[in-house]
């Protein structure tokens, strides 16, 4: 299958309806692909019912669709099986689930190792756990370009470490984390590894078996699927060892006045009615993504990112946040402009039909490391093209003329 950005763009109804929109905020939310939209529409029109409860045919059809989505997610992640896939409301919900369930087994003196490059969703839940359980947080330092500095891992991942929780790729710098040494360090002390994959899954298939991690979290809305659905993948034995987080319908074995027993994973972690149609849409999106020509698509986005960075580099007063080497990063490009606030730049860019995000990107500890309050971020995916990059660069020049 050959790749064409224009053809790919045609698979995204919103973009097809707005041909003049230069959508470069994909790190916040990817546009919904038609495969997901069609799956959601079909499910809601033909198979809508609650799941794992009813015995009538419609309910069984809904069950089948929901469990098929679990299989589709498992296939995308190269997981051992669908029972390792827990549907959540998103990455944030997945990490909060783990912070509660895994955190139940931690005590004062235990340590959780994070990095200063984390999105708040992989930062704040662990601070809250620190308040609840008295665990200590250790923060991996960053190199000047925002990549994790793994040169002193043995100082941070000690015998007291129970969990290493890091991002797969920064939502600000695009820097891809070198997970292998982190996994090895965690294994050496018997700690688990959680990876926040919110920025990674939309850039190609993820192989959790090859990564060797224990937990992997991501969101549907960044992977061209509906909002309101996400995944916590966990190794079977790792999930089986955890207590539930939320209690309610669907997650029980048996409830009596005296006690309640838990359903096995993944249902143990899916109390209440799950996001059924959204999960069906996510499964369809991932199935569609799995069939795409990723080598060509990676070459396309890398070419665009290079063009963008080359164009930005000549703008006076512009500073990049993140590594310059595209082999170490995803096509997420953040930068500051001397004397121009990111929100003001974004406002001018909006006038050029360019949608980018400005601000701290829910990564204030990382912003503190860079010594800035915020940045402008352009995040590329395969439906972006030369016109998007050109419009961004032209808009920035206009912003500098008006505000600089």
């Amino acid at each position: 299958m050959s790749f064409s950005a224009a053809q790919w763009r045609g698979h995204f109804p919103l973009l097809a309806a707005h041909p003049k929109l230069h959508y470069l905020d994909n790190a916040a939310t990817g546009q919904l692909c038609e495969a997901a939209l069609d799956a959601v529409t079909s499910h809601e029109l033909q198979h809508r019912a609650n799941v794992l409860r009813g015995t009538y045919r419609l309910a069984e059809q809904a069950d089948a669709a929901y469990e098929n989505a679990r299989r589709q997610v498992a296939a995308y992640l190269n997981a051992a099986g669908p029972e390792e896939v827990v549907f959540t409301a998103g990455t944030t919900a997945a990490i909060n689930l783990l912070a509660h369930a895994f955190g139940e087994g931690l005590d004062a003196g235990d340590e959780v190792v994070l990095s200063l490059a984390e999105h708040h969703s992989n930062f704040v839940p662990w601070q809250m756990l620190r308040e609840r359980r008295g665990v200590a947080l250790r923060f991996l330092p960053l190199a000047a370009d925002g990549r994790l500095d793994l040169s002193r891992l043995d100082e941070f991942v000690s015998q007291r470490c129970k969990l290493v929780a890091v991002t797969h790729a920064s939502n600000v710098t695009g820097a891809v984390t070198d997970l292998a040494p982190l996994v090895a360090a965690a294994r050496a002390v018997g700690a688990r590894v959680l990876v926040d994959g919110a920025q990674a899954v939309q850039h190609g298939q993820v192989d959790v078996a090859a990564l060797g991690v224990d937990f992997y979290a991501f969101s549907g809305h960044k992977a061209f699927a509906p909002t309101g659905v996400g995944v916590l993948w966990g190794r079977s034995e790792a999930l089986a060892a955890l207590p539930p987080f939320l209690g309610g319908g669907g997650m029980i074995g048996r409830v009596t006045a005296g006690e309640t027993t838990w359903a096995p994973p993944p249902r143990r972690f899916e109390a209440g009615t799950p996001p059924i149609a959204q999960a069906v849409g996510l499964g369809a999106a991932l199935d569609w993504l799995r069939a795409q020509p990723w080598a060509d698509m990676h070459a396309h986005t890398a070419r665009l990112a290079q063009r963008l960075m080359d164009g930005l580099a000549v703008l006076p007063g512009l500073t990049f946040l993140g590594p310059r080497d595209l082999r170490q990063r995803l096509p997420i490009v953040s930068f500051t402009l001397a004397g121009i606030h990111p929100h003001d730049a974004c406002q001018i860019l909006d006038g050029h039909g360019v949608a980018v995000r400005g601000g701290h990107h829910c990564a204030q500890p990382l912003m503190d490391c860079f010594g800035v309050a915020g940045a402008v971020r352009a995040s590329l995916v395969p439906y972006n093209d030369e016109a998007d990059v050109g419009a961004l660069l032209a808009g920035l020049k206009d912003a500098m003329r008006k505000l600089g």
């Binding site: 606030h341 990111p342 915020g374």
Partner: protein, 142 residues
């Protein structure tokens, strides 16, 4: 409503005037506020006499709109009491809600009218007013 309407010369001039920027030696009250959206930070310091502002200074790390609002406060706030500050904050909110008085109390407030069309930016203008109110509250309680 385009970005050009937002970034008119009078709002640029107001922001760049940075009126009131700095610190007071010994404020009666101070407060700091952050925008959860963008990380902007405003610090306001006030000295009061009988509940009225006699001196004010602010440190504003923010966008043009936030800096312009802080500068308007720096230019006009001396003499106000807490109730008047609340009323001015209300005037700005009404401006954004399309219910503004025909003539704003401060002529500078009129330049924020185009912000009305940009809901995500309302907080940029309101933040300095909220921080000033908190600073006065701290001073009155001290």
């Amino acid at each position: 409503m385009s970005a050009d309407d937002l970034y008119q010369q009078d709002i640029l001039d107001l922001a760049n005037s940075a009126d009131g920027a700095g610190r007071l030696g010994a404020p009666d009250g101070a407060a700091q506020g952050d925008s959860p959206l963008c990380g902007d930070r405003v610090r306001m310091e006030v000295r009061l006499d009988g509940g009225h502002i006699v001196a004010l200074a602010h440190e504003t790390k923010g966008c043009l709109l936030c800096r312009a609002a802080a500068a308007a406060i720096g230019r006009r706030a001396v003499g106000l009491d807490a109730a008047r500050v609340a009323a001015l904050r209300g005037e700005v909110a009404e401006l954004f809600a399309g219910q503004a008085a025909a003539v704003p109390s401060w002529p500078e407030l009129q330049c924020f009218e185009p912000v009305r069309a940009h809901r995500s930016r309302h907080g940029c203008v309101l933040l300095p007013f909220d921080v000033l109110a908190a600073a006065m509250d701290n001073a009155n309680r001290a």
